[in-house]
């Protein structure tokens, strides 16, 4: 673990002499290595380590009897701070329809997360509708409908002529308003952040439904591309939050630090399994510890 490595680099100096800048540099190498192994982006690691290094050159580290622990503590605190200190709930409208748009790369967990969120909102006493706007993946609509049946939440499957997701979204919004739902969740097709046409299409969907929440569902095991992915989706749509999926595995999840750094968006939820109930609120401290390994 990083704390052990830091003890190894700095702990041996206890009482044997002055901690120097070189020692701190060696410690920062360990921090850097740990973060890169955890999939934090190269440039995010660079600026993070530079900031932490500054803080480590203060008297609480240099004069400490347990400098290794001091550095580990500073790193953990800084990381937790960057994760977003407080928990960020879903932004629900007090009296109007709340529109939630689910977006992200192929296979990240959007459809499953849509159902998890719908279930959570339903158990909180709200009238929820899900709208199937993925008209391209084979059986995507069927997948959302099956999930909807399992949680007793209605799924609108507009099937507009021409198979245009924008038309489907418009129809979904109209239905949600007409039937006075509290929350409407739009599931969309997975797409690459570099697919110009599909990103344009998503912008049109967003314009059509005017979401209060635009959530990027991102895989916890995402690597260095997390920066590109988050930046592109945020620039195109204006994200309001991130949901990290598949977090119950052993992925360190450094992608979340990268995504937070480039979007400033809060991580609203984490997916911790395939079952409907496997959705938890995000814990910044816990995530920081996990990334550090």
């Amino acid at each position: 673990a990083l704390s052990d490595k830091l003890e190894g680099v700095l702990g041996r100096l206890k009482g044997r002499g002055v901690l120097t800048e070189q020692h701190i540099s060696d410690a920062m190498k360990e921090v850097r290595f740990a973060l890169l192994e955890a999939d934090v982006h190269f440039s995010v690691v660079k600026s993070f380590v530079a900031d932490v290094r500054e803080k480590c050159l203060g008297q609480d580290v240099l004069g400490s009897m347990t400098p290794g622990q001091q550095v580990a503590g500073i790193v953990q605190r800084e990381l937790a701070r960057l994760m977003g200190g407080t928990q960020s709930p879903l932004n629900l409208s007090p009296d109007d329809l709340t529109v939630v748009l689910m977006v992200g790369l192929q296979g990240s967990g959007k459809t499953t997360t849509t159902a998890k969120l719908a279930n959570r909102l339903k158990t909180q006493g709200r009238r929820v509708l899900m709208v199937a706007c993925d008209l391209q993946r084979p059986a995507a609509v069927e997948q959302l409908k099956t999930l909807g049946r399992s949680i007793d939440v209605p799924v609108l499957d507009p099937q507009p002529a021409g198979g245009d997701p924008v038309a489907a979204a418009k129809e979904g919004l109209a239905h949600a308003n007409a039937q006075r739902y509290d929350v409407v969740l739009f599931d969309t097709a997975g797409r690459l952040h570099v697919d110009g046409d599909l990103m344009d299409q998503l912008v049109q969907v967003r314009d059509a439904v005017q979401p209060r929440e635009t959530l990027l569902v991102a895989d916890a095991m995402t690597g260095q591309e997390a920066v590109n992915i988050a930046t592109s989706f945020h620039a195109a749509l204006g994200l309001s939050g991130i949901v990290l999926s598949k977090l119950e595995g052993d992925a360190r999840g450094g992608a979340v630090l990268s995504m937070r750094q480039v979007t400033g968006c809060p991580v609203k939820f984490v997916g911790v399994g395939e079952k409907i109930g496997a959705l938890e609120t995000f814990h910044p401290e816990r995530m920081a510890g996990r990334i550090l390994g």
Binding site: F33, L36, E37, A38, D39, H41, F42, L105, Q106, G107, S108, G109, Q136, R137, P138, A139, A140, E142, Q143, K145, T146, L147, S150, L192, H193, V194, D219, M221, T222, G223, Q224, E225, N228, I229, K246, E248, G249, D250, A251, R252, G254, A255, E274
Partner: protein
């Protein structure tokens, strides 16, 4: 790749950034930089162009460990199990493989071995219809091993050349699900001796270092024989492959480059390295 006229700190940082941002990983990157360092110290390397050549060759040498075994249809039927964590592209890859091998004149059959996830059977059935390939499936919630059993029997009875067995996505950290996979493999082996002839681990190119953890568990407990790396049409460069191939020395059969049946291409190490170093 840039306007450097000598090998200095700035150039080495550039090398490091390319490798790290390609998901090659910190440890492997350190090794590549050490190679350059040794060349500079002991072989008087001074030319940046030569440095890039050495790096490319070093990486190609690592990738050569994958050998050149191809995914061949030889037994009757050849049974290929497709495994991997959730959402990486297993089902879609099976569709692509079916299209390819059918076009080559083989009789292909698909087994809807994902009996857990919503509409998994429907998804594979649609692929089967699209390609004119038979799909063996049971209802959702059925035993995956039972589907595998049925499919193997059907494949033998119908003179199928290639049986592609889809499996549910599962995190390698889930002990029970890995055990279920092992059971499916055993059942296949009981029906058709020597099967499955291939266990293909599908990995997502957007995945970071966790790909190595996935590979370790799947290779150890699922008997993986080769890899497919999907979603290389993303900006991801799939650098984890370097470590993967060097460690497990198994072939990378194909690269996935999109969501349609034709978006599958044989792994080309030269092209891969060229793209990585851009």
């Amino acid at each position: 790749a840039s306007g450097h006229d000598r090998i200095d700190e700035a150039l080495l940082e550039e090398v490091e950034e390319i490798l790290i941002t390609s998901d090659v990983g910190a440890a492997a990157t350190t090794r590549f930089l050490k190679t350059v360092d040794n060349e500079v110290r002991y072989n008087r390397l001074t030319d940046p162009a030569r440095m890039w050549e050495i790096l490319r060759d070093d990486m190609l040498r690592s990738l050569a460990r994958c050998g050149d075994r191809k995914l061949t249809v030889s037994a009757s039927p050849t049974v290929v199990m497709v495994v991997g964590v959730n959402g990486v592209g297993k089902t879609t890859t099976i569709g692509k493989l079916a299209a390819r091998y059918k076009a080559e004149g083989h009789k292909v059959m698909l087994a809807a071995g994902d009996t857990f996830r919503a509409a998994a059977g429907e998804q594979l059935t649609l692929w089967g219809q699209r390609l004119g390939v038979e799909v063996v499936r049971q209802q959702e919630g059925a035993d995956a091993s039972a589907v595998a059993y049925d499919a193997c029997q059907a494949a033998m009875a119908r003179g199928v050349d290639l049986l592609l067995v889809d499996t549910a996505g599962r995190l390698h950290t889930n002990v029970n699900l890995m055990a279920e996979l092992e059971k499916v493999r055993r059942v296949i082996g009981k029906v058709i001796p020597g099967a499955p002839h291939e266990v293909v681990l599908v990995l997502d190119a957007n995945t970071g270092q966790n790909a190595l953890s996935q590979a370790k568990t799947f290779v150890d407990s699922a008997g993986v024989t080769g890899f497919v790396l999907t979603k290389m049409d993303s900006t991801a460069r799939g650098g984890v492959l370097v470590n993967l191939v060097e460690t497990y020395q198994r072939p990378v059969y194909f690269i996935g480059l999109g969501e349609q049946a034709e978006d599958l291409t044989p792994f080309d190490p030269e092209g891969y390295v060229a793209a990585l170093f851009g």
